[in-house]
Amino acid sequence: MSDVETHETDLTGQEAYAARTRRGRTVRHPSPKEYIRIAIVLGVVTAAEVAIYYIESLRSLLIPMLFVLATIKFSLVVLWFMHLRFDSKTYARFFLLGVSGAVTLYVIVLLTFGAFSR
């Protein structure tokens, strides 16, 4: 990579622009073993969700706990499997815009219907 960097200072703006990522780059990725570990965690969390569903004594805590567990699963898939943790922040910003936008707008709509106070 350093080869390209020193060379870039000799280039005009146009040439540097053309050289930047015309070829592929090497980036850090998790190994297959790491992916499998993530998958196991996902499985365990899902099992926990189902277990909580069945345990009557936890019924009053069900919704907050499910919410937390689902968020953990969501984040693991997005950050590791979809690679957002290692990729350019630009992708994350757009995706976050969509997710947070959706959550905000629809929570407001449901609030106007009183959906959370039933």
Binding site: Y17, L105, T112
Partner: protein, 632 residues
């Protein structure tokens, strides 16, 4: 002049790519953003004439009390289709025409990120528009208002609103796909040196609009599917008898519908932001403020939707919250207006047609904006809602604003697109006819609304005393029609003149004026390197110590070079493209794949079999597209 080539590998018979760039079929297979822009523009203008005719019928029917020139049923179809047409088939595609044509040119690119997808968007839009209009001949056009409130839209018998739901889903697909395409183009394909804050304001507004589209269209798509399912399959989304709530439709509709109005106005605001500096010979005042205001309008625009629902009964908390957010959105809008005025202040003003339309935009948009602020006062809106006062408001911003802004763009960029100037004197006459007609039509509606004239009524009795201003408004409408006719004649006549417009007839500031009128297919012989905002202007002119603007020698101010004013660059730069410039080749697959959609639509409305055929065509089209030999 660099050589342009479409690579030789044409593929076997079935997947052979078309190669011709002239003739009728070249328009069907084009992937050139400039041609697609022209297609959008011409189609949108055709729909403008149809939507305008619908308006004339409405105005004739309302000119005098107690008339029955057209039946109430037909009247419902006309006012519904007038709204649907003007919003979805005129202003949006006309804005698309400008975005398609100008975005690559203004950012110094050769085309958009996904040229075939671009063509696809146009064909899906065209077929969707034709599909909706075919309803007139197939049992009746949509008749439940452009906003299609449930349960009227879902419970009433007939296919009219099925055409509405299905047709809007189809054109929605076109817009969503185009939005992603253009957003990626703006973010990713700028010329070297063009940082985000060296982009023209028109491009910034374009970027905001693409995100508004991408995030609001899915919401109404769900609403439209729910409406479609209720009508076609008997589901209960908006069915009170089963526990459903028609207000859900209103939320889903306006969650889209409000960002939609900013989608309609921001392109015109972008155009005005380009035109004013050129004809005031001054840079845009407060460029960064104008940009940030546009972004703010985009965000806040998602937070005001329920101001269309003040009278629905959401309760004081919701009404107050949305009343406040609606007042807040007036702030960034006002910021833009002050910046435009600041641009004009002490400028060296030329009152060309584009400048007149832009100034008209500002004045009329202010009127529309002020009436909008009065709607934000919730108790006042209880009086105004569902009256002609609202009709006055949105026509002031959408016609007095958006349409006038788009006309400014048409006059401004006509020489660039078609290589001929539109006549200056007749253009000014055109402005005045349209301005007089427009104001005569819609100013009285403020009065009519406050006098209590409801919206969407087929006729009114003499005793209400609404006659005088209704007659005046009808007269105004026909003056508008005269103006449009005059424009058409001017436009068509311009084609009888030779293509001799210079590259930079207005002495402008942005990159599209550095290349030919019209530009060559590859846009620029060499991709420009950008050093500043309004880079072209700075290459032409420098400021002396006293602030006087003087031409730079050999800066290109008086050179019209077909391939661009970078002709002083040497051979070394040509090494970047040693094999000539490769442009994306034409393709018929976008057209083919788009054909599947109206088939699916007819299947939804009438009988299931065309759905299968339509889906198959879409799929085959997509596979053909994916598999055809690459053109780059």
């Amino acid at each position: 002049m660099a050589s342009v080539s479409v690579p030789g590998e044409r593929g076997r018979w079935l997947t052979r790519r078309p190669a011709s760039t002239t003739g009728f079929w070249s328009w069907i297979t084009t992937v050139d953003h400039k041609r697609i822009g022209i297609l959008y523009g011409v189609t949108a203008f055709a729909f403008f004439l149809i939507g305008g005719s619908e308006a004339l019928f409405i105005r004739l029917q309302l000119a005098r009390p107690d008339q029955n020139l057209i039946s109430a049923e037909t009247y419902n179809e006309f006012f519904t289709m007038h709204g649907v047409t003007m919003i979805f088939l005129v202003v949006m595609p006309l804005s698309s025409a400008f975005f398609n044509y100008l975005i690559p040119l203004q950012i110094g690119a050769r085309d958009v990120a996904f040229p075939r997808l671009n063509a696809y968007s146009y064909w899906v839009f065209l077929f969707g528009g034709l599909f909706i209009y075919s309803s007139f001949a197939l049992g009746g056009a949509p008749n439940g208002g452009w906003f299609g409130y449930a349960p009227l839209s879902t419970a009433e018998a007939g296919n009219n609103m099925l055409f509405y739901a299905t047709g809007l889903i189809i054109v929605g697909v076109a817009s969503t796909v185009s939005a992603i395409n253009l957003a990626v183009t703006i973010i990713n394909m700028r010329a070297p040196g063009m940082t985000m804050f060296r982009m023209p304001v028109f491009i910034w507004m374009g970027l905001v609009v693409q995100f508004l589209l991408a995030f609001s269209l899915p919401i109404i798509t769900v609403g439209l599917f729910e409406m479609l399912f209720d009508k076609r399959f008997g589901t209960h989304f908006f069915d009170p008898a089963a526990g459903g709530d028609p207000v859900l439709w209103q939320h889903l509709f306006w969650l889209f519908g409000h960002p939609e109005v900013y989608i309609l106005i921001l392109p015109a605001m972008g155009i005005v932001s380009e035109v004013l500096p050129v004809f005031a010979r001054k840079p845009l005042f407060g460029y960064q403020f104008v940009v940030f205001s546009g972004i703010a309008i985009g965000f806040i625009g998602f937070g005001v939707w329920a101001h269309h629902m003040f009278a629905v009964g959401l309760g004081p908390v919701a009404n107050t919250a949305f009343g406040i957010s609606t007042m807040i959105i007036a702030v960034p809008t006002g910021v833009k207006i002050f910046n435009w005025l600041g641009t004009l202040w002490k400028g060296d003003i030329r009152f060309t047609p584009p400048m007149l339309f832009s100034i008209g935009f500002i004045a009329q948009f202010i009127v529309g904006g002020l009436s909008g602020v009065t709607h934000a006062v919730v108790p006042a809106d209880y009086q105004q809602t569902d009256t002609y006062y609202i009709v006055a408001h949105f026509h002031y911003v959408l016609v007095g604003g958006a349409i006038f802004g788009l006309f400014a763009g048409i006059y401004y960029w006509w020489p660039k697109i078609f290589g001929r100037m539109l006549p200056d004197r007749w253009g000014k006459v055109n402005f005045w006819i349209l301005a007089i007609g427009f104001n005569l039509t819609f100013a009285p509606m403020h009065v009519l609304g406050l006098q209590g004239m409801p919206r969407r009524i087929h006729s009114y009795p003499e005793s209400l005393g609404l006659t005088f201003w209704n007659t005046a408004a009808t007269l105004g409408a026909f003056i508008i029609a005269l103006g449009v006719l005059q424009f058409l004649i001017m436009a068509i006549s311009s084609f009888m003149r030779p293509k001799d417009a210079p590259a930079d007839p207005w002495d402008a500031r942005t990159l599209e004026w550095t290349t030919g009128s019209p530009p060559p297919p590859h846009n620029f012989d060499e991709i420009p390197e950008v050093h500043a905002l309004d880079d072209f202007w700075h290459r032409k002119y420098a400021e002396t110590k006293t602030g006087r603007v003087v031409p730079v020698p050999a800066g290109g101010a008086d050179q019209a070079v077909p391939g661009g004013v970078h002709a002083t660059r040497g051979e070394r730069e040509m090494e970047h493209e040693p094999h000539g410039i490769h442009m994306p080749g034409p393709s018929y697959w976008p057209f083919v794949s788009a054909l599947g959609f109206p088939l699916i639509g007819y299947g939804v409305v009438f009988s299931p079999w065309p759905i299968v055929a339509g889906a198959a065509i879409v799929l085959i089209g997509l596979y053909g597209w994916a598999l055809e030999p690459s053109a780059e």
